[in-house]
């Protein structure tokens, strides 16, 4: 026990002596939490629209005013030349072109139906889909407006379906909160995995592990002394992150914080286990960094940080069974945002517990004092 305490003191001293550590623990998370949360917004703002109105009639003007009145659209330019509008689309100065041809109003009167085109820059497919939906909706409103006001047709002829949406837990559809919880997961994982693994391999690369190996220190003592400090730092990081979230974004904490920390304790064990395991199979820091980077990126992208894990293909969901970040990502949001209780997350909790035992035993067996 005394050996262990001495070792722990040594590890803590070593960690905090390193000048890079303090910024990594305190500054980087804050920057990340601010930058990521604001940058990572998928909310649509101001769709830039160019209007090519070649008709310049009463009907076309009314349609255009429907768009200029919408909060979703910014009319950046108005012209009668289609090539000019197209060049704006090409040079990214516009997202969508509204093209009204010169017989728009005439056909509406004569043929009782008329056409108009939207040309959408669809490189970002999701955005293009939304632009299309918003535009079509405005045209539909315009259509019933002219039917009723110009032609006196009562639109409520057919059956009408009322759809009332309601949004639970987040009625204002604030995306920041969701993103923020995801960033907390990244933070805890990053600290747990990278720092542990780097620390271990650095000793190996420098040859100082060998010096430890010839001392009477036992394997378990060495491993505990190496892992425990980062376990504490990662837990601290979560508390720190929650505090920042509360102060900056008024992060809701509906569920029990105790439950969240209990779950995190187990989660960090898994992450440390993976870090330890990766360090046993690498010889240099450079090698390790690449392996860790690869795993981190894959874990995090697949965990559902930006997009819901449930809509991923089946094979990806199977892979997610061994992705600890996917469990944590799901649980942290369930507890903080929805107030889920232990019975709701018990499956995730016990899965991770088994995972922790397995990966730690694998890593410890793989770690050798002698080479």
């Amino acid at each position: 026990m005394r050996i262990l305490l001495t070792l722990l003191t040594k590890e803590f001293k070593q960690i905090f002596r390193n000048k890079v550590m303090i910024p990594i623990i305190f500054v980087v998370p804050v920057v990340q939490m601010i930058l990521l949360t604001y940058a990572a917004s998928l909310e649509m703002k101001g769709i830039q629209m160019v209007v090519v109105d070649q008709d310049l009639s009463q009907a076309s003007r009314l349609l255009v005013s429907g768009f200029s009145g919408s909060p979703f659209f910014d009319l950046v330019h108005s012209t009668t030349s289609y090539p000019e509008a197209e060049s704006m689309l090409t040079s990214d100065r516009a997202d969508v072109i509204l093209h009204i041809q010169n017989d728009f109003e005439k056909r509406l009167y004569v043929e009782q139906q008329t056409d108009l085109q939207f040309i959408i820059n669809a490189i970002n497919a999701t955005e293009a889909g939304l632009i299309n939906a918003y535009s079509t909706q405005i045209v539909q409103e315009y259509n019933s407006q002219i039917r009723a006001e110009w032609f006196g047709l009562n639109d409520s002829g057919g059956m009408k379906l009322e759809i009332k949406p309601s949004y639970w837990y987040n009625p204002l559809l604030d995306y920041k909160i969701y993103m923020f919880t995801g960033i907390l997961v990244i933070l805890v994982t990053l600290i747990g995995m990278i720092l542990t693994a780097l620390n271990l391999v650095r000793e190996k690369e420098m040859g100082t592990t060998e010096q430890i190996n010839v001392t009477p220190i036992r394997k378990y003592q060495f491993i505990v002394a190496k892992l425990l400090p980062f376990w504490i730092i990662a837990l601290f990081e979560l508390a720190f992150g929650l505090l920042v979230g509360k102060l900056l974004y008024d992060l809701p904490m509906v569920g029990s914080l105790g439950l969240l920390f209990l779950f995190t304790c187990v989660y960090i064990l898994v992450v440390l286990g993976i870090g330890l395991f990766l360090s046993t199979i690498s010889n240099t820091q450079q090698q390790l960094m690449f392996v860790v980077f690869f795993f981190m990126l894959t874990f995090i992208l697949m965990s559902g940080v930006f997009t819901p894990a449930e809509s991923m293909p089946n094979w990806a969901q199977k892979i997610n069974l061994v992705n600890p970040a996917a469990y944590f990502m799901r649980v942290i949001r369930m507890i903080l945002l929805k107030g889920s209780e232990f019975r709701d997350i018990s499956r995730e909790f016990f899965s991770l517990l088994v995972y922790a035992i397995l990966i730690l035993s694998l890593a410890v067996t793989n770690y050798r004092k002698t080479t």
């Binding site: 085109q117 959408i120 497919a125 047709l153 059956m159 379906l161 009332k164 450079q286």
Partner: protein
């Protein structure tokens, strides 16, 4: 010159000897493109929907069938009480609950109107909104099909054309971003770490004392990574084309030329980082935090720049990947030529020169 080639050969051997890193170097682009192509999509599929049908008549049952046959939704359970909605959301087993009011069909026949409530678990605001919009679309089109006999005059037909990406594939957005990310990772991160490693181990001293000139040392260190990055750029373009049918509409030569420019820029950044980092750990964290995060976040790779707050938008201007992604999108997807990309290319060129000058100025041949 012979001396220089010998040095480059040694560097290549260093890299190729480490099989694991090599595997990741070449495997990374493949895994990433598969991840972004299939996994990290914002498309809706298999969203779990709970149904609370308080009416249980023919129309509501048919509407339910329509929802689940649309391909976007799977049933998460049939509820009978209000409280079950909360329980379903708490356990995370459903995203949306559809509530048909009591007497749904009767109301529809008698008053010509009936209502459906769509309750969404909006803790994930983005996918909640998406699922809601899709459900609404499915229900609307079902009711339109019942209503079909009523044909309205004075109709404005809308025709939408999706430019550059007719099938609305999500991967179009990611291929340019992945190139920016992976080239930056390999070029900047790897060079900064290898050069710092020599410093940390003291072998830099040996190299400096050799007849090799300092600039030969740096060039020799950098050359293998030019080659590796270039192979990776080709892999991404090829994979995008073969697996996801992402075309190269513009000139492939121009595209490769711009890739070379970007690789040079990333390499000079890597050298610059190595001149100020003393240990590999510092170099790694500087590259990871200073380059990786901005490349992912502030370049328009995943998150559109237009949606960001003003300050961040302004900040994106000093991020090289931002300009590179614009160029790649223009050449690959829009098929534009130099006329549309000269400004961005000049910015990249200017940045490259700046980094090289700064690196040369800071490079110290004397060790303290």
């Amino acid at each position: 010159m012979n001396r220089f080639f010998g040095f480059v050969k040694k560097e290549f051997q260093h890299i190729f000897r480490d099989k694991r890193t090599l595997l990741i170097l070449f495997g990374l682009p493949i895994v990433m493109i598969v991840l972004f192509g299939y996994v990290v999509t914002t498309e809706i599929s298999d969203v779990e929907v709970g149904i609370w049908d308080r009416s249980m008549d023919q129309t509501s049952i048919q509407a339910t069938q329509k929802i689940f046959s649309s391909g976007y939704f799977v049933p998460a359970g049939y509820l009978e009480r209000e409280e079950e909605i909360g329980e379903l959301f708490h356990s995370g087993n459903a995203k949306v609950v559809v509530v048909f009011e009591a007497g749904f069909e009767k109301n529809l026949k008698r008053d010509n109107r009936a209502s459906i409530r769509l309750i969404t678990d909006a803790s994930d605001a983005n996918s909640a909104q998406l699922a809601q919009t899709y459900l609404q679309g499915v229900l609307m089109s079902y009711f339109q099909s019942i209503n079909q006999d009523v044909r309205l005059p004075w109709t404005v037909n809308v025709e939408s054309r999706m430019y550059y990406n007719e099938e609305l594939k999500g991967v179009y957005m990611f291929v340019p971003g992945l190139m920016a990310l992976i080239l930056m990772l390999i070029s900047a991160l790897m060079t900064s770490v290898t050069i710092t490693r020599e410093k940390e181990f003291g072998t830099m001293e040996l190299l400096l004392a050799s007849p090799l000139k300092p600039r030969e040392i740096i060039l020799g260190k950098v050359t293998p990574y030019v080659f590796l990055s270039f192979v990776n750029a080709l892999t991404i373009i090829l994979l995008g084309f073969l697996v996801f049918k992402v075309p190269v509409v513009g000139s492939i030569w121009l595209l490769l030329l711009v890739c070379m420019l970007y690789i040079t820029l990333a390499l000079s950044l890597g050298v610059l980082i190595s001149t100020s980092a003393k240990t590999q750990q510092v170099a790694m964290f500087m590259s990871l935090l200073g380059l990786m995060l901005p490349t992912i976040l502030l370049s328009g790779f995943i998150f559109p720049i237009d949606n960001m707050p003003r300050i961040l938008q302004w900040l994106t201007h000093i991020m090289p990947p931002r300009w590179f992604i614009v160029i790649v999108k223009n050449i690959m997807l829009k098929g534009t030529g130099l006329a549309h990309i000269w400004k961005e290319s000049l910015i990249l060129l200017g940045m490259t020169l700046f980094f090289i000058l700064a690196a040369v100025k800071r490079f110290n041949i004397r060790l303290k």
